[in-house]
Symmetry: C2
């Protein structure tokens, strides 16, 4: 029989992104979005952006945005990479650094896209189980034989911060591969490993505008690393798609960086609300890892996560529930505004009493 | 000796995008951009876009934009795919459809990214030489043994339209693989193969907002195909990056589609200017394939392309010159406004007389 085009297709199991409810009355604590708007400077730039400039290709090097990141973080321009969200930065990094055929490592409970990319790019991998308390098993990452390592810090969905010393140990003991520390949530209280990029040329630090800068809708991710790492990453990126970040998004990113006070204020509001939430959840009979992120990974002493999830959902409060042996009795709750969190706790108080 | 992370890097030769001059006085006829602004509706949407919505993730399915494309082109939603520019759509298509290990085919003189992606994704390929007159060698594509086929129509940088009948012959004789017709320039006078997508389930038609809709700065590409093709493409796309098209870009795309009269008017202006340019170039001693795109691929009977290129550049008129045996004595000139083209012809007239 003749061969068909369909036999040649690279078939994958599609990934399902977190639900985006159409109903506007929903309290949306399920996708780790920032409950506050982006910096007012973003509104200003949108009001004044030169729409005629859209007829021209954007700057493929995103020099303006790279310059603003350089100023903000005190890192030279040639040590900064930008992409269409952290996911783009991470996918390009996997393609660039993890193709030796040797197994890469990441935690068993972690960001759900790592194994998707590994499968997609045919990269073999092993997972290193988190310890019983959900903390990173540092020794498990320090064998010095991995083809690559990626660890989020704080980790998701646990929210735990491994600390700079533990991460430095992992980076130092793995000079044979690139170590990616995915700091999507670092601005909510953990310490960044950014100062280590000049000490270890195998360290790539990735961050995003989606969480702490309230710009999930704009898709801006970035990475810091040694000049060599960033050059390799750019070479692959430019042979993949030269013009990924559009003109307006570059402007929006620069506007966001122009207001560091607003940024710090909003991060602090979320941190304060998270600390209050810890007390409320404890009072209501929940336990959780001590999160340094904008979410809490909660487990109730008597009620099942599935039941609580369903009850919340019925009352238009969306949180995230994951399948998987170690996590299925937990819920990931994004820190919202004080009003949203009060509505959550009011409901939980009544719901848990009723039973 | 110990292995280093650098041995594991996937090293590629970086691609160099067309030059974007900083000088605003330049007459920029080198990157096939539209000389006119996008539809006024784009300005309106930017003035009124809800900036607070940026804190939330964009719709990963881009349902609004897909709906507007569906209405505009009369194609069901599940037969439409969108991406961050044609390049993203094409790269995803290569990853999805061209990974059988069998050689894919494209013309020897064509869009310069096809062989870059093939190398990047380790896809073996052969090129089918254009005929002496730069037209597509249809028979060369009709052997029925390819692992995949990609042909731009009109072709770049020649501008030639192969015609629907020739393309249908290629699609019909290659049921064993996906055939991509890259219609980036189709709105400037060629006929689209879009009506064939229901007849051949191996046909993918890609288009872009970058040229005819004057939105190169926004990065919007799209594709039409059978439901099966589009589903496979989405599965790979969602396992790569769920949120590639940002919120504002989706709004901009919808706004552009909302004004079909403006779109047609601007396309017609460019077509008319191209036809006038053909007469002027002929008068000045140039010959060229009979372009149906927004550029002309010109060759002078006595002056070398390199000399003309350098003289134009010195006078702040940028056109595109490619290396390569068959094309190095041609220049690709984007069709600009009447004023820009008059400046070009005034200069050429003087320059060619002087010699």
């Amino acid at each position: 029989m003749m061969s068909t085009w369909e036999e040649k297709v690279h078939k994958v199991t599609p990934y399902t992104p977190g639900e985006q409810p159409k109903n506007q009355d929903v309290i949306k604590l399920n996708t780790n979005e920032n409950p506050y708007p982006p910096a007012p400077a973003v509104k200003k730039i949108l009001d004044s952006v030169d729409y005629e400039a859209l007829r021209k290709y954007p700057d493929p090097a995103a020099a303006g945005l790279i310059g603003a990141l350089s100023d903000t973080y005190g890192v030279p321009r040639d040590q900064i990479f930008v992409g269409v969200g952290s996911d783009d930065v991470l996918a390009m990094s996997f393609l660039t650094f993890f193709t030796s055929g040797e197994k890469i490592l990441f935690p068993d409970v972690t960001y759900s896209f790592y194994d998707v990319w590994a499968d997609e790019f045919r990269i073999p991998f092993d997972t290193v189980p988190l310890k019983e308390d959900f903390s990173i098993d540092v020794d498990g990452f320090c064998k010095g034989t991995a083809g690559g390592i990626v660890i989020p810090n704080p980790n998701a969905p646990t929210g735990l911060d491994a600390g700079v010393d533990a991460l430095e140990q992992i980076i130092r003991t793995n000079p044979q591969c690139v170590v990616i520390i995915d700091e999507a949530y670092v601005d909510f209280g953990a310490k960044s490993v950014l100062p280590l990029i000049d000490k270890y040329d195998n360290l790539l630090v990735t961050q995003t505008f989606s969480k702490s800068r309230a710009l999930a809708g704009s898709r801006i991710g970035f990475a810091f690393g040694s000049k060599k790492l960033i050059k390799y990453l750019n070479d692959v990126k430019f042979s993949f798609n030269s013009y990924t970040m559009d003109y307006i998004t570059q402007q929006v990113g620069m506007a966001s960086l122009s207001d560091p006070d607003y940024f710090r204020m909003r991060c602090l509001e979320i941190i304060n609300e998270r600390e209050r939430a810890k007390k409320e959840f404890t009072r209501l009979g929940f336990d959780f890892p001590d999160s340094k992120s904008n979410f809490l990974f909660v487990h109730h002493q008597s009620k099942s996560a599935c039941d609580i999830f369903a009850a919340l959902r019925e009352n238009n409060i969306f949180v995230r529930h994951f399948d998987g042996e170690r996590v299925h009795d937990h819920l990931r709750v994004t820190i919202g505004t004080k009003e949203q969190m009060n509505a959550l706790f009011d409901f939980l108080e009544k719901y848990l009493k009723e039973d």
